[in-house]
Amino acid sequence: MEIFLQQIINGLVQGSVYALVALGYTMVYGILGLINFAHGEVVMIGAMLAISSLTALLGIGVPPLLALPLSAGFAMLGCMALGYGIERIAYRPLRHAPRLAPLITAIGVSIVLQNLAMMVWGREYHSFPQLIANSPHSIGGAIINDIQIIIFILALAIMAGLMLLVHRTRLGRAMRAVAENQHAAQLMGVDINRVISVTFMLGSALAAVAGMMVSANYGLAHYYMGFLLGLKAFTAAVLGGIGNLRGAMLGGLLLGLIESLGAGYIGDLSGGVFGSNYQDVFAFFVLIAVLVFRPSGLLGERIAERA
């Protein structure tokens, strides 16, 4: 029983990171109908910026509890600038091009960012300074540590904040309007370019937070880390119904749980025929199953609510 509970906790923590990254995919898709495959690399750059700034801040003697939010802010600002730049350079010139063109530039941007990161930060793994005590708490025999609690709560808070932003503010209304009909929104006086830029910047800020969470939780960052994470988060977005904010959150948490429970139990359930090496396969199996049986995703009424 405590093993089961532990797998649920593992899944929820992992899933909340997927959800944050998935939100970035889904926001861009909702507004532009574009899958921003470079989003995973933005997560990676966020993690790298956080680690670099954190190391620098700690180096000049800033107290850890101040350095942590400062470097988070730095990573978010850096990624927002990056998100803005990606949209401006790689996607805006192609906004009215056939749909395949921006998809290919997205993959191109992803490769460029990966190689740039390799040049700037090198090929080695960077370790995340251990600032939060790794003290385990026991819940019914299952172990959860402070970092994981912070990740889970922070992710939920950010998602709640995003929902408020989209549904309660002027900017959110503009985003929803652009998502529904760009031309109509433009005629009503919405500055489309600005809304799209802001969407990219918001998604990238979330990616920076997610990147920082991943590297704090696993204690590492590497120029290659964004690739698989990006694919998983994309799967989560599709699972929940791409273009749908609540769907991305649900999809992320579900995917985390599916992976964790799947990897934990498949060996015993299949009598050793399948093993935990299929952990990553679950995500993509889910992707195929969703695309075949419910292409619009779990919460996928795309027209009803996109942002």
């Binding site: 460029v112 390799m118 090929r123 793994y125 790794n134 385990p136 696993y218 204690g219 799947g262 090496n277």
Partner: protein, 392 residues
């Protein structure tokens, strides 16, 4: 300047910057009368294991630069060795493409590949084209068991290493219930199988055999499953990018057991990634500790001065190049067909071991040293295996 050309200029600049970043800055001092001999090398230079791959490339490059500085004469002509380094991405498919590329470049020999999973498929291509291949680090038994005359390695194989590890885990560490995780690569799979064989032969019970892959960093699900089986030792067969976070997650999931790895975990990077969770972990490395070898300390000093701290296999790459050149000198030829026999019968004092090959191309009597992380550093515990007594 029009907007369009400005943009294409920018693109060209980016492409040039990306293409230029990997060009080695070795000046070609090819004076007349000199013969240029190409030596191929391949390791993952991108991807999760890029830091180990770069380490291999540096070790190889240093040996080649040393040979060029020494001035080697073969067949009456001064030889200028040229390194052709290719990235195989630790991917078996890419490795075969790289192998073909090296063959097409008419290399006289190949130092590589790093992983067993890439070395094995590539070895067929080298063998078909009669090109000598010395792997500095592939340990899977399958590599030299294919009957290829061109395949050599300067490292103990998994049968030797897995046996030593399995025996050490059971006899010295007293493990009774053992869990094994492997990364499903040619290396991890082979090492895990040999380890399990040896552990079971010594009366231990394998309570779980789980799997991951060489790009993963989240093992919480697998480790939680392992925890349910209550083992007293966990053996991980794979490389440090996985071993580091795995050790960390072991600690945060409060699994109290001994953590053991093969040579893939014996790196400073492992300690960096695992943090204080690295303390007490075990790993093995074929050969005797570097500072106990005659030229080992000197090699390390020079290597660190020129590149960065040794990650893992750089000394083995250095030896692989030198043993290849020694065979060329002995045969007085740079043609693989001519120096192959000399290589098979060679006896060379390397920085990692005295290198002699058996009939399969494996290292003869490879010693294996066990290490443990103590106070944040890898410390040698003891050297086991056939050559332990003979080591200086």
């Amino acid at each position: 300047m029009s907007f369009h050309s400005a943009r294409s200029l920018l693109f060209a600049a980016i492409v040039l910057a990306l293409a230029g970043c990997e060009k080695p800055a070795t000046p070609s001092q090819n004076t007349p009368g000199e013969l240029t001999v190409r030596i191929g090398a391949s390791a993952p230079l991108t991807g999760p294991q890029a830091h180990i791959g770069k380490d291999n490339e540096s070790g190889t490059r240093m040996a080649i630069d040393d040979a060029n500085a020494r001035g080697i004469f073969i067949g009456g002509r001064r030889i200028h060795f040229e390194l052709i380094s290719e990235d195989d991405q630790a991917d078996p498919k890419t490795a075969t493409i790289v192998a073909q590329k090296l063959v097409d470049n008419q290399v006289s020999g190949v130092i590589g590949h790093l992983n067993s999973g890439t070395t094995i498929p590539a070895s067929r291509i080298y063998s078909d084209n009669g090109i000598v291949q010395i792997s500095p680090s592939a340990t899977a038994t399958a590599y030299t068991a294919q009957g290829f005359k061109t395949a050599f390695r300067v490292m103990a194989n998994d049968a030797q290493q897995g046996r030593v590890l399995g025996e050490y885990a059971t006899r010295n560490l007293g493990a009774k219930k053992i869990a094994v995780i492997d990364d499903r690569t040619g290396y991890g799979q082979g090492l895990a199988d040999e380890f399990i064989k040896a552990a079971q032969a010594n009366g231990a019970q394998i309570v779980a055999h789980e799997y991951t892959n060489d790009k993963a960093y989240d093992f919480t699900a697998v480790l939680t499953a392992v925890k349910g089986k209550q083992p007293d030792l966990l053996f991980y067969a794979g490389m440090d990018p996985q071993a580091g976070p795995m050790a960390k997650q072991l600690k945060s999931l409060a699994l109290k057991l001994k953590f053991m790895m093969g040579d893939g975990g014996y790196t400073p990077q492992f300690i960096k990634l695992a943090g204080d969770a690295a303390e007490g972990s075990y790993a093995s490395l074929p050969g005797v500790p570097l500072n106990k070898m005659p030229g080992g300390k000197e090699f390390e000093t020079r290597f660190v001065a020129r590149y960065q701290p040794i990650q893992l296999y750089a000394p083995y790459c250095y030896d692989a190049v030198n043993v290849m050149i020694a065979a060329m000198q002995k045969a007085d030829s740079v043609e693989p067909a001519n120096y192959l026999a000399a290589l098979a019968g060679i006896s060379h004092d390397g920085v990692t071991a005295k290198i002699q090959f058996d009939e399969k191309g494996d290292l003869k009597g490879g010693a294996i040293t066990l290490y443990q992380v103590q106070q944040g550093k890898w410390q040698p515990l003891e050297t086991l295996g056939a050559a332990a007594a003979a080591a200086p």
